[in-house]
Structures are given as structure tokens and as C-alpha cells.
Symmetry: C2
């Protein structure tokens, strides 16, 4: 089995850098995205990694790589209008890459701004997908849950549900096939794309610390956990 | 309309203080619980407040009140085995208190470890309950959601759901009546108790910062937000 990782760092629709894109913010003295890429190489040094990035951020990324002497190899593809388009661009580039064998490759699709993903979780996702054809890491819901009915609501049991993280891992041939379908607004992640063409989605126990860094306080938490784990 | 607040600081089942109960940890130099109680007095200085606390924590709480010269008035009731029993104990004490009028009183039930609740949110919850008979503050789900089917899963649209906070506000007579029913494990909060006897639950827009402090990093976030709001 060959392992690929597709790291999703945003699409063409992202606002031009009035502020620094989250994946380039410093975490423990290094851009977040470098932590994320490093985690996949720590899992497996032979992994083949492709980064999907907005076209207008390419120069900045290459500059950061020089500045931080970051030399882990990775292909680049550009983001599209929707996340769906960005993933498709990335898959296409993988499909065209040298030595690619769709029938013997698993592809992990991961958010660039989840740098706290550990090698254990990456490993569990690859192993589960190899066995069951799909894997999605999930965590229990922390708060009580209600179903919205306009301004009113109905009780739901939070234990019946789970919160979804990445990496989400699937066989390359299945992903390439699923991403031939037209875009739907119901596609919120890769599992929903795969499910729409009939694949069942297997769960893996995710990690509470594998957060998506989207607001400043997320960065505060990530710094805290990194300090703790030293 | 008379306003009551029932502050829930844990039941008899809580482990004896091998570690300091969360509601007594310092936030901005003062025990969390004092921030919580103060918020309700800031909303309305005439509010009548009752604190439900494990019996074995009473001495510590009284000592902390002296130490921090905390003199906001409040009744005390003891926690029971389940949260349901604790709320029932508190309601009973309110029902026996001087001047209580079940037909003209709203009761807000709130987690002691949600000190970041603001007067705006408390006000919105009381106003909504006065108008519609119930109110529960909720926030949108941050992560994608899936429904568990054993080790497998099904897509759900997170926009159909919401995460529940407190304070949850209801008419006193309705609460007293609802808490006569026998305990069920499906009672995860007061809304679920009210719903079980036929009340509809009205939603109020909650606040992202109104977090429940349960792990050390929650305290880190609360400190961060308090510093920001200065």
C-alpha cells in the first residue's frame, strides 16, 4: 500500500491577505502548516504529500519555506472556488504524478490548520481505511444537543452523534471516482462526497487536541498543549 | 415578574476534594463561582439566588466567602445523587422561601462553572421565557456532525442542530410540576425534564464565550477573554 496525504490550505475564494492566513501563523516558532506537514512525515517518511494552496499564497509559502529552511518534499496544487474543487485539483495532480497506482494507494485528506494531529491518529486512520475502505476520526459531543425547529427545538441524545475531524482516508480509486460527480452544497467534507456515491463511512476515535485553528484562542490552546507535551 | 436564579455547583456524587472543585478555582483572582453569582446580580440587583452545592463543600464555600469578602446574598441547598435530585432540592428550597409566588416567578437554572455568562444573555433568557414560557441559549455546531451507527456512521447537517448552554429559564410553577416526575437517565438538562411533560423549548442565541469550565484549558480561555474585554 502506498500512502498519500492531501493537505488542504484553502481555495481561490479566500480573501486576499488583509490578515495573515491561519496556516501561516506561528505555532511554537514555526508556521502552523509546517507542523501539519511534519506530522505526516513523522508517521511515514515515504509518504507522498501534496499541498493545495490558494494561487496567490504560493509565493509567500515558498518564501516561508526558505526562511525556515523547511525542506520536506511536497507537490503543490491550486485551490478552486469550493473546497470540493480544491480537493479535485489535488487528486488530479496526484493521479498524474509519477508511479501513482490508484488501486494500491490510500489518500488521507487533512485540514492544513489541524497541526496537532499526531502520528498515532494518522496511523489509525490509514490502518482503518486499508481494512474497511474508509475512515473518519470523530470525537464525542461535549455539550447537550438539540434539533432546531425554527425558533423552537427538540431533544436529541448527544451520544447518538459525533463531531468530525480529519484526516479522512479512502482508497485513491474510490476518491477519484467520487470526485467525478457534480458539486453539491451538502458536501461539507470528503466523507459526505464519498457517501453520496454509496460508500459507507467507518469511524476512528479522534483526539480532542486535534483542533482546527480558526480563531486566536485556538492558537493559545495549541501552544498550551505543545508546552505540556514537552 | 420575580426573577430567581438556581446556580448548580454539583451533587453528592462528586468525588471528595482530592482536587479543588472547578467552581472554586481562581479566575482573574476570584473563585469562578463568585463571577457566576455576580453576573446574575449585575443583571438584576433584586434577583433571588439559590446555590446548590455538595454538602461536604459548604464549609469551604463559606470560608472562601469570608476570605474574598463576598457578600452577595444567596440561599443554600445541598446537592443530591443526580443533577435531577440537586435541582429538585433547590426548587424545593425556593418554593419554601419567603414571599415566593409560583405563578409570577421565573427561575433561571445555570451551571456554576459558566462564569462568562453576561448580563445580556441572562436578560435575553428571562425575556424570552416570560414571553414563550421557556428559553435555552444555544450556539451553532463548529464541527461537521455524523450520526453513529456502531462503528459506522451517517451524514447529518450540522445546521439542523445546536449546542445547549445555560441559563435555562422557565416559569416556577411549570418547573415545580415537572420536577415531580420520576428521574429518567434521558434528563441531561432542565429543558429535557420540561420537554418530558409536554413543554415546548424556545431557543435564544447563546454566546460562544459562555463556556463550561471543565478542563484546565477552559480556564486559560476564560482568562484570555476577560483580559480582552478590559
Amino acid at each position: 500500500m502506498e500512502a498519500y496525504a492531501l493537505i488542504m490550505a484553502g481555495g481561490a475564494g479566500q480573501r486576499m491577505a488583509a490578515e495573515m492566513p491561519k496556516q501561516f501563523l506561528l505555532l511554537h516558532g514555526q508556521p502552523i502548516l509546517m507542523h501539519t506537514i511534519s506530522a505526516f512525515y513523522q508517521y511515514r517518511s515515504t509518504i507522498k504529500l501534496l499541498l493545495v494552496i490558494p494561487r496567490q499564497q504560493e509565493d509567500l509559502w515558498l518564501k516561508l519555506c526558505r526562511q525556515y529552511a523547511f525542506d520536506l518534499p511536497h507537490l503543490l496544487a491550486y485551490g478552486g472556488n469550493e473546497r470540493f474543487d480544491s480537493v479535485r485539483n489535488g487528486l488530479q495532480k496526484i493521479a498524474e504524478s509519477e508511479g501513482f497506482d490508484a488501486g494500491n494507494s490510500l489518500i488521507a485528506i487533512h485540514d492544513a490548520v489541524r497541526p496537532m494531529v499526531g502520528t498515532d491518529l494518522i496511523g489509525a486512520c490509514f490502518e482503518t481505511a486499508q481494512r474497511y475502505g474508509s475512515s473518519v476520526p470523530v470525537t464525542p459531543l461535549v455539550d447537550s444537543l438539540r434539533r432546531r425547529e425554527g425558533e423552537w427545538s427538540l431533544a436529541e441524545d448527544r451520544k447518538d452523534f459525533c463531531a468530525v475531524q480529519t484526516p479522512q482516508v479512502f482508497w485513491a480509486k474510490d476518491l477519484l471516482e467520487a470526485y467525478k460527480q457534480p458539486y453539491s452544497p451538502s458536501f461539507t467534507d470528503d466523507a459526505s462526497v464519498m457517501e453520496a456515491v454509496g460508500h459507507r463511512i467507518r469511524l476512528v476515535e479522534g483526539h480532542r487536541r486535534n483542533i482546527k485553528i480558526t480563531v486566536p484562542e485556538d492558537l493559545l490552546l495549541a501552544e498550551y498543549w505543545l508546552k505540556q507535551s514537552k
